[in-house]
Each structure stands twice: as structure tokens, then as C-alpha cells.
């Protein structure tokens, strides 16, 4: 973390608190049913998106999942455009046509959120393949959860990436649950990092609650990919504070487990580390957090008041030409 200066540190903090406050607000509007449909919140996992995505260039690519708000916020997509997408409004980043599960902004490198478990891995791998083919200095990242490793798409993407040495970084956000199913039950290999040996893909398991640990591993993986070293995998151990979706009663989570992971909260952790090292003052952090909370409030107010899409959009953009 010695490579980070004050403004960059504050930028990391800003993204993490934006995510936390954004997702808190999402929980509220899910409860009040102000927004319809499925909502999957990222709270608890902030250190993963914020440790990796700011290190990517805007010309790099990444794919996300249905739990994508954190990735979008870490990529600096305007909060208002993300919120409006959740509300299904035309001012949403995808005109409201994708909704919460399909936030995307390819101009910033976010290929998009995929609604199918492991669906993004082959696509990110293909984007990485294209970069090599075109002689471009671009890398790709595929985010996925621990449940994805059982999908054929997961194995086929690693197989393809290994065979053609694509500059792709597979990032597992191991949040201990595949929907409601505990990782100690479903993950026969014990760890996702242990599953890449068959594909000769180097891997590392890291503390996904510490943004600096994530950043260090990500920097290595990105360097490796950019310098022709091929694919790698990061398994970030983290925790999903919410349920699989908003409305999930989470009866399957032991209270002691919740308490344990909340004691390792990535935001608290950040505060502790920067205080110990005297890098930032509490007042600075408080100021940024208060500003983020206000931005979130404003973004949701704007989104809620934004117009619905014109009904002609039902059949728009199915094809480019037809």
C-alpha cells in the first residue's frame, strides 16, 4: 500500500462508502417495495471491487454478475444512472431495460452484469483473447461468486484461457454462500484457488475484507496479464451481508458467523489501517462518507422522479438492423 498517495486513498474510501450507502438504500427501497424485481446487494464485499477495478484502465474489460452494483460504482459509473436503472427509468445506464442485474457501461470497460451464474467468464476470456489478437495492451477481469465453479462455463472459460494464454484475471468473490448453500458444503475442493491447477492457472486466496490485500494481489495479476504472463485467479474471501436477494430471510446464517465477519468489516478495516499508519484523519474520512451518503440520497431521489421509458422501447434494440 506504499504506492498509494492521499488522494488515491481517499478515492478508494469514497468508492467503498458510496457502495455501502447505495446498497443500504437499495435494501430500504426493496423493503418499501418502491422498486419491483430482484435486487442483490454487494454490502460486505466492497473491498473486492474497490481493490481491483480502480487499478484497471478504462480500456480494460470486465464482466460482472447479477450482484453488480458495487462493480459499477467502483468503475465510477454515475450513481444516478445506476439508481435509475434499478427503478427502470429511461435515464438508467441501460435505459431501464436491463434493471439491477444488467448494469453495464462498455465505454468504461464494464461489459456488464450477467444474470446467469458463470455466464461472464467465457465472455471476459473472449475479450482478453481479442486484445491479444489485435495486439492491444488490454486485460479483462471476470467477477463471479463461489457458486459459479460448478458450472461448465467456469471450467470451459479457464480451459480456453489456459489453452490460449488469454490476459484475463478470474476473480472469485467467495462470500461463503451460493444462494443459500454454504461453501463448506458445496465446494468439494475446499478452496476455489485449489481448483485451477488442472488448467495450469496460477491462483491465490486472499483476505477479501482488506482492500489493500486485494489491491496487492490484483496489481500482480494485472501485471502478469499485461506483460504476457497469461491468466490467473484470485479467490477473495469475503462475506455477503445481505441475503441472496433482498427479501431472503437468511435463516441459514449462524449468528456467530455474521458477527465474526462483521468484526472484519472492510470499511472499519480501512479506517483502522489508515489511522494506524497515520495516512488519513478520521475527519477526512467522515467528510467523504457524509458526502457519499448525500450523493446517494440525491441519486435515488432523482432516479425515483425520472421518466419511464417510452413504450416504443419494448421492441427497440433487439437487433442493430432487422
Amino acid at each position: 500500500m506504499d504506492d498509494i498517495d492521499g488522494p488515491e486513498l481517499l478515492g478508494l474510501w469514497q468508492r467503498m462508502v458510496r457502495i455501502r450507502h447505495f446498497e443500504r438504500r437499495v435494501s430500504t427501497i426493496a423493503e418499501t417495495r418502491e422498486v419491483e424485481g430482484y435486487l442483490h446487494i454487494y454490502a460486505g464485499q466492497e473491498a473486492v471491487a474497490c481493490g481491483i477495478i480502480p487499478l484497471l484502465r478504462e480500456s480494460d474489460w470486465f464482466t460482472s454478475t447479477y450482484r453488480n452494483h458495487g462493480h459499477a460504482i467502483a468503475r465510477d459509473i454515475p450513481l444516478e444512472a445506476i439508481a435509475a436503472e434499478l427503478y427502470g427509468r429511461v435515464t438508467g445506464v441501460c435505459q431501464g431495460k436491463g434493471g439491477s442485474m444488467h448494469v453495464a457501461d462498455q465505454h468504461r470497460g464494464m461489459i456488464g452484469g450477467m444474470g446467469i451464474v458463470a455466464g461472464g467468464l467465457p465472455i471476459a476470456t473472449g475479450a482478453a483473447f481479442a486484445a491479444t489478437y489485435l495486439g492491444q495492451d488490454r486485460v479483462a477481469v471476470a467477477f463471479f461468486g463461489d457458486g459459479a465453479v460448478h458450472q461448465g462455463a467456469w471450467h470451459e472459460a479457464l480451459d480456453f484461457a489456459g489453452l490460449f494464454q488469454c490476459p484475463v484475471i478470474f476473480v472469485c468473490e467467495n462470500n461463503l454462500y451460493a444462494e443459500t448453500t454454504a461453501v463448506d458444503y458445496h465446494l468439494l475442493a475446499g478452496s476455489v484457488a485449489d481448483m485451477t491447477a488442472n488448467y495450469r492457472i496460477p491462483s491465490i486466496q486472499i483476505d477479501g475484507m482488506n482492500v489493500f490485500a486485494v489491491r496487492e494481489a490484483a496489481a500482480d495479476a494485472i501485471d502478469r496479464a499485461r506483460s504476457g504472463g497469461g491468466p490467473s485467479l484470485i479467490e477473495a474471501m469475503t462475506y455477503r451481508y445481505g441475503g441472496q436477494y433482498e427479501g431472503d430471510t437468511q435463516t441459514y446464517k449462524p449468528p456467530a458467523e455474521v458477527a465474526h465477519w462483521q468484526s472484519r468489516d472492510p470499511l472499519t478495516r480501512f479506517r483502522t489501517i489508515v489511522a494506524e499508519r497515520q495516512l488519513l484523519k478520521d475527519a477526512q474520512l467522515d467528510e467523504v462518507e457524509a458526502a457519499a451518503a448525500a450523493e446517494v440520497t440525491a441519486a435515488f431521489a432523482t432516479a425515483a422522479a425520472a421518466p419511464w421509458p417510452d413504450l416504443s422501447l419494448v421492441t427497440a434494440d433487439v437487433y442493430t438492423t432487422y
Binding site: 464482466t63 431495460k97 465472455i123 476470456t125 473472449g126 475479450a127 480456453f160 427497440a316 442493430t320 438492423t321
Partner: protein, 345 residues
């Protein structure tokens, strides 16, 4: 003009588009062959050119960088094609047999077909998926299906299926240049079908039907290979004084409804010949279209001549019985000619 087989016309279209555009490349299983043996058995490279030899010779010209033999992992390379297309390439992926789509359908169904829409029109996925359909090859139930309607059902995918070499070349070049995902369906029993093909590249617009034969008594719509069966039936019927118009839609999505409806308005009778299973098929779809939009023009019920609602059997006499025949088509038309014409007010 020179004659070319469908197989060679497809090969030529691929070659010309790869020559013209560096972004065009091929992914597939054994589309060259001999991968990993180039050094010790150089003569084994390009051993196959795909199971039907369609891509043979492209390796020598374009190398393994652009003729990419993948592992037997369709989800991996279809998904990678989607990502590569978003990132600026024009990938052409080969699903060795249409039956194998089950292993990778998620990538086409939920990603290729939908990303443009769910992302609000900001991205397009210009991939071509080449694949091979059709019975009559003694290839049994899992290598013989004609799953046209599985793809046609999905908004976001375009679906084309040529029945002549001229159409194969023009439609494939159009598909490669198209900004959207196109499923290009070849028929294994038509690869050696020959007709006149210009040497220079040309395109046929997706969504334009071809009229094989004009007539005024009945309209026969033939789906891919079945258009030739329909033409043969039409020849037979012409000797009996029944003049059939024969149409090949060539493209199922988009579908040239104008040509089909205009023909039925002229003839008042419709027989659709489709070797697929009858339920939720193209035959059913076209029947519904005509029933909705040209009911007043019909002088007899619509008839579908299709494969059975059964897997394709291996046993040769069973497979032959499974498929529509010239006689079945001709009988269907004859049955319409003897139907009493509904009286009109």
C-alpha cells in the same frame, strides 16, 4: 458461370471475408485438424477442415492464429466469441452439429441474443455461429436434428439456412458483415449440391425469400433441403395440371412474410414442407402467419408436411419414412385441390 458446391461456396465466402477483414477469424472443433502435431506431422495439419471438409484449406492461407482449433468445449468458445465480438473482432464459431447446441445454448440464448437489448442498445454482438442440421445421413438421433425453430424463437438472434450454393455464399457474407448474432445453418445432405456461383463477393439481404418456381394453384414453402423436395413435387404435379409456386424463405429470422403472404393471396392454398418435428416448428409458425394475415384468401386448409414427432431413427427405412417425401408433399397438395372451395358471400 462456374458451378460450385455449397461446401465450396461456404469455403470461398469464408476465405474472401477473411482476406478482406483481419477481424474475421474462425473458432471451432477440428475446423483445421491436427492441432498440436504441426511440427512432427506438418501434413496432418488441416487433416479435417471440419467433419465435412468445409473449412479445409483455410489453415494454409491464414494460419492457426485465425483458424483456431479449440477444445471440445462449445460454451467456452461460443462465450469467447461473444466477448471477442464486443472487443472488436468478427468471430465465426462452428458448432459441429446443430444437435450439440445443448452444450452451449446458454451463451447464445442468454448472452449473445440479449446483451444489446438489456444494455440499452449500447453494444452489439457481431458473431456468426455456423452449424450443420438435417437428417438423411444415417447419423441417428443426436447428429440429425433440424432445430431451426429453437433459434428462430429467440429475439436477438438472426437465423439463415441456404439451400443452394449461390444462396450459401451470398447469405454467409451478409451474415459475417451483419452487426448482430447470426446462426448460419448448413445442411449435411446439401453440401455437394451445385449451382452457379459468381467468383466475386456478393451479399443476399437477410430476410429475403427466394421464389423457385411460379404457379397459381398452390404455394409450397420449403424449409432448407425440403425446398428441393417441394420443387420435385411441383414438377410431378405440373404433369397433372396443378401449378405450384415454390418458395424458400432462406432466412427464418427475419422472415420475408411479404413474399409468403403475396403468394398465398395469389394461390389460395398453402403447404409447408419442413423436416423438423411438427410442434412449434417453422411450419407451424408460417401456418399461423398465413391463418392470421391471409385467412380470407385461403381456399383450403393449410397443410404441413413435416418430420415425425419422434427422434430421428437410425435404421435406414425408418429414417426415410421419418422424412417428408416428394409423394407426401404431392399428396398433400392433391388433397387441397379436391377440397370444396368455401362459398363466399
Amino acid at each position: 458461370m462456374r458451378k460450385l458446391s455449397i461446401k465450396d461456396a461456404i469455403n470461398e465466402a469464408l476465405r474472401q471475408e477473411m482476406e478482406a477483414d483481419e477481424r474475421v477469424l474462425l473458432f471451432g472443433e477440428d475446423i483445421a485438424g491436427g492441432a498440436g502435431r504441426d511440427e512432427i506431422y506438418p501434413e496432418a495439419a488441416d487433416a479435417w477442415g471440419g467433419p465435412f471438409g468445409v473449412t479445409k484449406g483455410l489453415l494454409a492461407q491464414f494460419g492457426r492464429r485465425r483458424v483456431v482449433d479449440t477444445a471440445v468445449a462449445e460454451t467456452g468458445f461460443i462465450g469467447a466469441s461473444i466477448g471477442a465480438a464486443i472487443a472488436g473482432l468478427r468471430p465465426i464459431a462452428e458448432i459441429m452439429y446443430i444437435d450439440f447446441i445443448g452444450t452451449s445454448f446458454d451463451q447464445l440464448l442468454n448472452h449473445a441474443a440479449k446483451l444489446r437489448y438489456v444494455y440499452g442498445g449500447k453494444v452489439s454482438v457481431p458473431i456468426v455461429v455456423r452449424t450443420v442440421a438435417g437428417a438423411g445421413y444415417r447419423a441417428a438421433a443426436e447428429h440429425s436434428q433440424a432445430l431451426y425453430s429453437l433459434y428462430t424463437h429467440v429475439p436477438g438472434l438472426k437465423v439463415v439456412a441456404p439451400a443452394t450454393a449461390y444462396d450459401a455464399k451470398g447469405l454467409l457474407i451478409a451474415a459475417i458483415r451483419d452487426p448482430d448474432p447470426v446462426v448460419f445453418i448448413e445442411h449435411k445432405r446439401l453440401y455437394m449440391y451445385e449451382d452457379d456461383v459468381p467468383e466475386e463477393p456478393y451479399t443476399i439481404p437477410l430476410g429475403s425469400a427466394r421464389i423457385y418456381r411460379e404457379g397459381h394453384d398452390a404455394t409450397l414453402v420449403g424449409i432448407q433441403k425440403m425446398v428441393h423436395t417441394a420443387v420435385d413435387a411441383a414438377k410431378l404435379l405440373a404433369d397433372e395440371g396443378i401449378n405450384c409456386e415454390v418458395i424458400d424463405p432462406r432466412s427464418y429470422s427475419p422472415l420475408d412474410t411479404t413474399t409468403i403472404l403475396a403468394s398465398v393471396r395469389k394461390t389460395g392454398r398453402l403447404v409447408i414442407v419442413d423436416e423438423s418435428h411438427p410442434r412449434c416448428s417453422l411450419a407451424t409458425d408460417i401456418a399461423a402467419l398465413v391463418a392470421e394475415d391471409a385467412f380470407d384468401a385461403l381456399r383450403a386448409p393449410i397443410r404441413r408436411v413435416t418430420g415425425a414427432h419422434a427422434p430421428v431413427p437410425f435404421s435406414p427405412p425408418l429414417e426415410d419414412a421419418y422424412l417428408p417425401s416428394v409423394d407426401r408433399v404431392a399428396d398433400a397438395v392433391r388433397s387441397l385441390m379436391t377440397k370444396p372451395v368455401a362459398s363466399r358471400a
